[in-house]
Symmetry: C2
Subunit: 173 residues, 2 copies
């Protein structure tokens, strides 16, 4: 995986900073690359717009498109955000397929406001897919390959060397 990488780089970011940068990207980026595959190993890859709700990426694509068909068949997706020298790579599972008519209106409105695209207005079926990350990695260049794991088995890692949040002191009742 290191073949895009060169050797003269700024210092590697801490885990804490990489998690913050990754959450920023999930909040602000409009598009990401979504890779899915059919059960025979044929890969598919397209850019899709998404909405991050703190737990999942919400996407939508025509039910007849390969991405929708493969996600319905396998439930597995790999997502890439950012340019090739500042990547966030996410292995994720589809946890829900939501028909457009059944999505809460405020979620549909938030999706349309962020992405500029409203699947509810399309002809034909454009279901929404709730995509939940299980593994997240982020790196820029070769010096960031060590420490690239940010989430394992659905849990964000925390930096043992980072300051803990201040302990709560019991106050007056």
């Amino acid at each position: 995986m290191s073949t895009t990488l060169t050797t003269a780089n700024p210092p590697a970011r801490s885990l804490t900073l990489r998690v913050r940068d990754t959450l920023d990207r999930l909040d602000r980026d409009v598009d990401a690359w979504f890779a899915a595959a059919d059960p025979a190993g044929l890969p598919y890859l397209v850019p899709l717009s998404f909405l991050w709700d703190g737990t999942a990426l919400l996407i939508s694509t025509a039910r007849t498109n390969p991405t929708a068909r493969f996600l319905e068949a396998t439930g597995k997706v790999r997502v890439a955000l950012g340019p090739t020298r500042d990547v966030v790579l996410i292995d994720a599972e589809v946890r829900e397929v939501i028909p457009a008519a059944e999505l809460p209106a405020e979620v549909g409105d938030a999706f349309a406001a962020k992405t500029g695209f409203d699947p509810r207005e399309q002809r034909g079926a454009y279901p929404y897919f709730r995509v939940v990350p299980l593994q997240v990695q982020a790196w820029r260049e070769v010096n960031e390959l060590a420490g690239r794991d940010l989430m394992i088995d659905g849990r964000w890692l925390s930096d043992p060397e980072a300051c803990d949040p201040p302990a709560l002191t019991p106050g007056p009742a």
Copy 2:
């Protein structure tokens, strides 16, 4: 596939211009996204550097990495170049897997010069993969979805409205 797209755009490029832009990108871009999958439908996706020789993309990755294992198992890969609003999408086949020691020296040197990465110097096996496009599409925004096919079944399309090259007139012998 249209969910990254908005509606206020510059005019759609002609086929001829899209092919030229795509060939420029293949020549000049250093990295692309490579999606592969295992035969059970688990997708994989990483950025890799490549060298284009006019017919194929040459890539290299550790033989133990998922990309190498999946390419050896299925021979199928989908490649994305460019940002999400100026994409080139390529369905391709692996036509050759070349051990580093068997690659012609000048090709290995050209790969290292372009990518800044020399697989021949790595510890462990870093084979090269010769990836030949079969289908190529390119679009920027929604108004370029029509006419996005640039190559079908391994043949670049040509624009029926573009000027043909001047016919050769037989000259003096």
